[in-house]
C-alpha cells in the first residue's frame, strides 16, 4: 500500500540512530498499574523534575485522595476504577497499534477520506507506527527557528520545567490550582506532558501554534497539561486537536489547560475535539474530562475560546475566563454535536471581577440519535465589576425524537450597572427546510449537513480559516445516519 511504502522510505531517510533511540526509550518508560505516591514519585523522577515540581504533584495527589468524583453533570457512565489504569506511558498503546493502514478500521479510513485528510496524516491519526510522526519533523524544525527569532517559547511542558523553571513555577497552577476539582487535581498529580507557550512582551506570534505540528504532544496520553502565557501587548492563536478522529486506546482523558493574559494581550484558543465517540451502541469511546481556564490578568486583555466538540463518549468541559483586568474580554464560542449514544455536558464560566469587563457566549448544541447534550454555564458579576456586560445565546437543535437537549445556565449578578442578557432556544430540524434542500437536489445527509452548518455559522466563523473548512465537513460527518 502506498502509504506504508511512503512511510518506510521516510523512516529510512531519517536514519537508524533516531529509530533505535526511540525504541529504547519506549521500553524503559514503564510504570505499573494503579496510583499511589510511589507512582507520582516515579513519574517525577522519570522526568528528572526538580524538588518543587515533585512537591506540587504530591500535594495534589494527597488532596485528590480526599476528593469525591463530581456527580452533578448530566452524564451517565460506569464508575471508573482509577487503580485499574496506567499512569505513565501505558505500553499497550504502542504494542497494540496497527502496523499499517491495512489494519485500521475501514470505517475510520472512510471518514478520513470524506474529510480529505492526506494519507500520511491518516496514518499518524490512526496511530500507525511512529514513523508518520517523523514526516513532520522538518515542519517542526522550520517552526522552531521562526519562533525563536521573535522569542516565542513553544515546547513541551516537561522541557519547560527544565529550561524555564522560573516561568513554570510562577504560572503553573495559578489559574487552575492543584486543588481545583477532582479531575484537575488528578491531572496535577500525574500529568505526563503537554504544551508550554510563552509569548514575550509586545510580540505578535507570527503563526498559528498547534499541537498538531509538535511531535511530542502526539502521545502524551491521558493527562495533558497545557500552559500558555501571553505577556503584555502580545498575541497568540493556538489550535488544539485536529478534525479527524484520533484512534486512541485510553478511555479516560483528564487534561488541564491554563491561560494567563497580561495587559493588552490576547490569546485565541481553538479546539476541534473529535476523539473516538464509541460505536453506535455506545460501546467504547473516550471519557473527556477537561478543565480549561484562562485568567485575563491585565487591563484590556482578551481570551477567546472556540470549540467544536464532536467526539468522545462523554464530554465534561467548561473553558472559562476569569476577567480580572479592567476592560478585559472573555469569549466562548461553542459547537457541541452528539450522535448515537454520546453525552456532552459543556459550557463556560465567565467570572467578572474587573471594571468594564465584557463576555460573550454563543453555544450551539446539536443532538441526534440517542444522545444527550447539555449546556451548563455560569456568568458571575462581582460587586466591583462596574459596567460589566454579558450576552449569552444558547441554541439547541434536536434531530430525531430519541435525544435530549438541556440548558443549565447560572447567572449571579452583584453589581447594578451590569447588563446581563441570556437567551436560549430549542428547536428541531425543520421538515420544511429539509424538503426545500432536497427539492433542489441535495440528498438527506447533505441537506442535514448544510442546515446544521447554517445553524452553527456564527461559531464556525470564529475558527481560523484553515480549520473552519475542515470543521464544516466534520459537522456533516458527525451527523451521518441521523436522518432517513
Amino acid at each position: 500500500m502506498a502509504a506504508s511504502q511512503d512511510t518506510i522510505e521516510k523512516a529510512e531517510a531519517l536514519g537508524e540512530s533516531y529509530k533505535h533511540g526511540f525504541v529504547t526509550e519506549i521500553e524503559s518508560e514503564f510504570a505499573p498499574k494503579g496510583l499511589n505516591e510511589d507512582i507520582v514519585r516515579y513519574i517525577s523522577a522519570r522526568k528528572n523534575e526538580p524538588e518543587w515540581m515533585l512537591d506540587w504533584r504530591l500535594r495534589a495527589y494527597r488532596r485528590w485522595c480526599e476528593m469525591e468524583e463530581p456527580q452533578w453533570a448530566k452524564v451517565d457512565f460506569p464508575q471508573i476504577d482509577y487503580q485499574d489504569a496506567y499512569y505513565y506511558a501505558a505500553p499497550k498503546g504502542y504494542d497494540d497499534r496497527p502496523k499499517s493502514l491495512d489494519e485500521v478500521d475501514p470505517e475510520l479510513l472512510e471518514t478520513y477520506e470524506k474529510l480529505g485528510i492526506p494519507l500520511a496524516e491518516q496514518a499518524m491519526l490512526a496511530g500507525v507506527a511512529v514513523d508518520a510522526v517523523f514526516d513532520s519533523v522538518s515542519v517542526v524544525t522550520t517552526f522552531k527557528d521562526k519562533l525563536e527569532e521573535v522569542g516565542v517559547i513553544f515546547c513541551s511542558i516537561s522541557e519547560a520545567v527544565q529550561e524555564h523553571p522560573e516561568l513554570v513555577r510562577k504560572y503553573l497552577g495559578s489559574v487552575v490550582p492543584y486543588s481545583d476539582n477532582f479531575h484537575a487535581t488528578l491531572n496535577s498529580a500525574v500529568f505526563s506532558d503537554g504544551t508550554f507557550v510563552y509569548v514575550p512582551e509586545g510580540v505578535r506570534c507570527p503563526m498559528e501554534l498547534s499541537t498538531y505540528f509538535r511531535i511530542n504532544a502526539q502521545h502524551t496520553g491521558q493527562f495533558e497539561r497545557t500552559l500558555i502565557i501571553a505577556d503584555k501587548g502580545s498575541y497568540v492563536s493556538y489550535l488544539e486537536g485536529c478534525t479527524a478522529p484520533m484512534r486512541d486506546e485510553n478511555q479516560l482523558h483528564a487534561a488541564v489547560v491554563e491561560l494567563v493574559v497580561l495587559d493588552d494581550a490576547e490569546i485565541k484558543y481553538s479546539t476541534v475535539q473529535n476523539w473516538y465517540p464509541g460505536d453506535k451502541e455506545g460501546r467504547g469511546g473516550i471519557y473527556n474530562f477537561v478543565t480549561k481556564r484562562g485568567a485575563c490578568r491585565g487591563r484590556n486583555s482578551k481570551i477567546s475560546w472556540t470549540q467544536v466538540e464532536t467526539g468522545s463518549a462523554v464530554t465534561w468541559k467548561y473553558p472559562s475566563c476569569i476577567l480580572q483586568g479592567d476592560n478585559s474580554v472573555g469569549e466562548f464560542f461553542s459547537i457541541a454535536i452528539t450522535n448515537n449514544r454520546q453525552q456532552a455536558d459543556t459550557g463556560t464560566k465567565m467570572i467578572h471581577l474587573g471594571r468594564n469587563t465584557k463576555s460573550r457566549i454563543i453555544a450551539k448544541g446539536i443532538s441526534a440519535g440517542h444522545s444527550q447534550s447539555t449546556y451548563r454555564g455560569l456568568v458571575s458579576v462581582h460587586p466591583k465589576a462596574e459596567g460589566a456586560r454579558n450576552h449569552t445565546q444558547c441554541d439547541s437543535l434536536l434531530i430525531g425524537d430519541e435525544c435530549g437537549a438541556h440548558t443549565v445556565p447560572y447567572i449571579e449578578v452583584k453589581n447594578p450597572s451590569a447588563q446581563i442578557e441570556h437567551e436560549a432556544t430549542t428547536s428541531k430540524l425543520s421538515e420544511e427546510q429539509l424538503f426545500y434542500c432536497r427539492q433542489r437536489g441535495l440528498d438527506a445527509e447533505a441537506a442535514v449537513a448544510l442546515l446544521v452548518n447554517g445553524f452553527c455559522k456564527e461559531v464556525l466563523q470564529k475558527l481560523p480559516m484553515e480549520f473552519a473548512v475542515e470543521a464544516q465537513k466534520l459537522v456533516g460527518v458527525s451527523l451521518e445516519g441521523s436522518v432517513g
Partner: protein, 254 residues
C-alpha cells in the same frame, strides 16, 4: 403535440387520511406551458407537492410517468437531478446558509447525481451573477442567508433565479404570484417567460389570472375538488377571471 414529458393518469392522492386528488389526468409535452387554476382547497398545491416528492402524501391509485419513468419511485433529490424544479409558494428560510453557497451546493449535488463534473466556485459565480442581473438581484442579496429577511418579492425572484441557474426540464411554479405587487409580478413573469424553451415544460399553478398576463399559457386547466373539471386555451383564464370559479367548481368531472 410534441414529445410527452409528463403523463399523469387517474392520480388519486391522500394526505393524513383525506383524499385530496381524485383522479387527475394530464399530459405535458416539451416546450408547453400549462396553467392550473382553481379555487382554494382544490388540490393545486397537493399536485405540485406530489410531483416533487414532498413526504406526507400517499398515492392510492393511478400513476405519474416522467420521460417514461415512474416518478413515484424517486427521492425528491433524484427528481431534482432529473430536471424537476418546484418554485415554492412559501420559500423556506435557512438561517446561516448564504443564497450563493446554497446554489453552489445545489448545482453540484445535481451534477454529481447526474454523473457530471462539478463546477468550481468561479464557474458557479459567473453563472449565477449573469442570471441574477436579469432578475435585478444584487450581490448583496446573494450573500445573505437564503430567504431570511427577504421580502415577498425577493423570495420569489430568488426562486426564479434558482430555476434559471438549475435549468430544469419541468418547472412547477406554485402560486408564484402570491404576495407580489405589480412591479414584482412583472419582473417575475418576464423572468419566467425568458426561460421558456422548446425542451422545457412548465406547470404554472395560480389562483388568479393576473400572472398569466405575463406568462401566456398554451393550456389552461381548472382544478376543483381534486379533479380537472375543464381544459382549454389561454382564453379560458380570462373567462374565469370574469366569471369566477363558482359554477365550475360545482360541475362534476366527466
Amino acid at each position: 403535440m410534441s414529445e410527452v414529458m409528463l403523463k399523469i393518469e387517474n392520480l388519486h392522492v391522500t394526505a393524513e387520511g383525506t383524499e385530496i386528488l381524485r383522479g387527475i389526468n394530464l399530459e405535458v409535452g416539451a416546450g408547453e406551458v400549462h396553467a392550473i387554476m382553481g379555487p382554494n382547497g382544490a388540490g393545486k398545491s397537493t399536485l405540485s407537492n406530489v410531483l416533487s416528492g414532498r413526504p406526507g402524501y400517499e398515492i392510492t391509485a393511478g400513476s405519474i410517468s416522467y420521460f417514461g419513468e415512474d416518478l413515484a419511485a424517486l427521492e425528491p433529490e433524484e427528481r431534482a437531478a432529473k430536471g424537476i424544479f418546484l418554485g415554492f409558494q412559501y420559500p423556506v428560510e435557512i438561517p446561516g446558509v448564504a443564497a450563493m453557497s446554497f446554489l453552489k451546493t445545489a448545482i453540484n449535488a445535481q451534477r454529481k447525481l447526474r454523473g457530471e463534473e462539478e463546477l468550481d466556485a468561479r464557474g458557479v459565480m459567473t453563472l449565477v451573477q449573469g442570471e441574477a442581473k436579469k432578475l435585478n438581484i444584487g450581490a448583496d442579496m446573494l450573500k445573505r442567508s437564503i430567504n431570511v429577511g427577504f421580502s415577498g418579492g425577493e423570495k420569489k425572484r430568488n426562486e426564479i433565479l434558482q430555476m434559471a441557474v438549475l435549468q430544469p426540464k419541468l418547472a412547477i411554479l406554485d402560486e408564484t404570484d402570491s404576495g407580489l405587487d405589480v412591479d414584482a409580478l412583472k419582473l417575475v413573469g418576464e423572468g419566467v417567460t425568458a426561460l421558456r424553451a422548446p425542451d422545457r415544460a412548465m406547470i404554472v399553478i395560480t389562483h388568479y389570472q393576473r400572472l398569466l398576463d405575463y406568462i401566456v399559457p398554451d393550456f389552461v386547466h381548472v382544478l376543483a375538488k381534486g379533479r380537472i373539471v375543464r381544459s382549454g386555451g389561454a382564453e379560458l383564464a380570462r373567462e374565469l377571471d370574469q366569471l369566477g370559479y363558482g359554477d365550475l367548481a360545482k360541475v362534476p368531472a366527466a
